[in-house]
Symmetry: C2
Subunit: 433 residues, 2 copies
């Protein structure tokens, strides 16, 4: 039997049937990294998996038992497309920690904040529309934008986050070209992958610029409560409820395994997001949502976040000290929250080309190219300190130092083109090790 009418080949009879957007779907670098990182002999400085070893599993297990026994007929049933009202109420209290005053009606619960990203993009982006985003930007967001055939224009950051004057001039330039900018995508706190935080002073400036150009702000904030040394800054949403869609998540402050995130959006946008979510999944999981609500009700969740912050600070310190000790020829920022250090390699080194050798040396990271829409950033890498222990972090950076040293030796002998010559190694590949 053949499907020759569909223009297919033997390998994929449906090749001629895919939507045009399907051609933009590439294996994400994160995907291959999940496979690599799961091998115990590799120190993964790659993924954004939070440390959940500190969670009180006995307590959570007993909580789940009670939830099913006492409320099983609700927890196991379909729920509302917008999400469980009790959880949405709790979410308003979580957001209040960052100065946001919201009503439960403003909140849409999603299957992780990744789904919220996808819904916002679905509702706003036609092919060719422009999204403005920090340089670099979260790889998972770039993947969504690419899948929706958006064009992403990056705006530089410095140690205080997105640079207002650069944003204004980028938006002015795009306007002059007649390009349609739909929203600014920004991670203002403990940026992924940049590690920096948008200063308090700049927040109203960024909002004012976006208002002036009629550009919506998509504030993605998974790490806001994970600062090491200070209270959370006021969210951008707290300064402009009509101009900002705020995305939140329980993946980093509690646990990603339930896949519960949310969007808080202006009313009319919220209605669209609910409809898009009903189309995509009918409704989020009642069992997951009620588990989160129960955790917020019965556990000392703020105390747990405090413990997480202490853990992550210790790991950040381990990573910074190891970088200073083993790879002093590189440069990096020192994040004061979140999960990531953004490392600039010595000139001539290509983090993407180097990755297969790093994995062979049993250490993994994400190359900088993953965080740029146009694939630039080859001289950078993202190192995450969230998951491995301080000892493993030190071990991983030491292994990485060996790889960097060998690369530098190659560059010294053969010139800066030499390391790049290995670019023919395709990444991501599940069997790259």
């Amino acid at each position: 039997m053949t499907h020759s009418d569909s223009g297919g080949t033997r390998l994929d009879p449906w090749l001629g049937s895919y939507a045009s957007r399907a051609h933009n779907m590439r294996a994400s670098e994160i995907r291959a990294l999940f496979a690599v990182a799961s091998r115990p002999e590799v120190v993964s400085l790659a993924g954004g998996m939070p440390y959940i070893g500190g969670l009180p599993l006995e307590e959570i297990g007993e909580m789940m038992r009670r939830l099913i026994v006492e409320h099983g007929e609700t927890a196991l049933q379909y729920g509302s497309g917008q999400g469980d009202e009790n959880l949405r109420e709790h979410i308003t209290h979580v957001m209040a920690l960052e100065g946001i005053r919201a009503h439960p009606d403003d909140v849409v619960v999603t299957t992780g904040s990744q789904q919220a990203l996808d819904l916002v993009t679905t509702v706003f982006i036609d092919p060719g529309d422009v999204i403005v985003a920090e340089a670099p930007s979260y790889v998972g967001a770039l993947g969504v934008f690419r899948a929706h055939e958006a064009d992403v224009v990056h705006v530089p950051m410095d140690e205080n986050g997105l640079i207002p004057v650069a944003l204004a001039s980028t938006l002015a330039g795009l306007k002059a070209e007649g390009r349609r900018v739909k929203f600014l995508y920004t991670v203002p706190n403990y940026h992924n992958p940049g590690g920096v935080t948008l200063s308090l002073e700049r927040r109203p400036q960024i909002l004012e610029i976006c208002r002036r150009f009629g550009v919506l702000v998509l504030e993605d904030n998974p790490y806001g409560l994970l600062g090491f040394d200070r209270e959370p800054l006021p969210a951008m949403r707290s300064m402009d409820a009509e101009g900002v869609i705020y995305l939140g998540s329980f993946s980093k402050t509690f646990a990603p395994g339930f896949r519960v995130g949310w969007a808080a959006a202006p009313h009319a946008v919220r209605d669209k997001l609910v409809l898009a979510s009903e189309s995509a999944i009918l409704c989020p999981s009642n069992a997951s949502q009620m588990a989160i609500a129960s955790y917020l009700e019965h556990s000392d969740w703020q105390g747990q976040i405090k413990k997480f912050r202490e853990q992550y600070r210790e790991r950040r310190d381990a990573m910074i000290h190891a970088l200073e000790e083993f790879i002093p020829e590189a440069s990096w920022n020192v994040p004061d929250g979140g999960f990531y250090v953004w490392v600039k390699l010595p000139d001539g080194l290509d983090a993407k080309a180097m990755l297969p050798r790093a994995v062979t040396a049993r250490v993994a990271y994400v190359p900088g190219t993953a965080f740029y829409f146009d694939g630039s950033g080859s001289n950078y890498m993202r190192l995450s300190y969230c998951y491995p222990t301080p000892e493993r972090i030190r071990e991983g950076v030491q292994r990485l130092a060996g790889v960097v040293e060998a690369e530098m030796e190659t560059v010294r002998i053969f010139g800066p083109g030499a390391a790049g010559a290995t670019k023919t190694v395709q990444f991501p590949s599940p069997d790259l090790a």
Copy 2:
């Protein structure tokens, strides 16, 4: 502050910013019905909520406790985009009950089979592409197709399901017009809303026709194991692994609250679905997936399905007897599985126009128009017997009979246009009662 640059209005400053597809997102009739159905005084014959009162909650609660205590570090963490491998193995055994031989690699776990529908549509449909589907078709699928700007062409069914000769002539006509048909969407078993089952004899005929025209088959099968009087028929996927994407769900055979469904697809298509799912949600919930796997391992799930079938048969009988007793002037099919009776009202009656009066009389159903892409089917309604008790079903049909009688009286006195005059009542409206 204004967002005048975005062409907005006071009510929705972002009105000018939405994607073109967002204009196709309308409040689904199912959405308003969730709100109506949740009011205890209304007998809902509307929703597709399964009866889960029979589940062993103590046992499931204890299972969840053990899952978190013993495997919490996996259950609460991110997982693979394709889904938990152990669960995918179990899913192949579930599909084997319908004659499918599949490998766990063929399976993509999704957030309910609704997400699988969305992913398949994302991967295959460009705006304007044609999807062929039964007349009528599942409202949730039509919503996804509409959100992706597909055009749906309906093909008639009879008591043996989709009519092969009608399918062939529809595909030939579309081909002659130069229209691009991407797939056939079909619910072969205990159709939603039609209640009929595609006969064994017709299955290879439908597959052969689709092969001839290079059209993929999307076999949506949530109810296949819920037949009242016979063993499951072989799935279409069991007859053509390369030409069929099969969608399954645990929502009707176990519980919808975990939101776990799946797609089994040809290899190259499977890869695209995984990428689309990673973009949409990163990964499905480990906690939910492991809960399902644990249930399949430790509970008598096939025994539980047998109990569900007996419950649903009893409710089907209650509904059919009540229809015979109270609304003999209507006509309907007698389903031998699944959740739904498809009712044709007496001539001149409009189920959509009648709905507000039915809800006032404390009974709800879904008007036939929800199940046609072009909004036809006004003379039909879907009644579901899955959720209310037999006594409540009888009460609901009796209430409905009063509404139908009053409508017929209006038609007798004022003519068939009269009932239609109330069409100005907008549906769906959350406050329609």
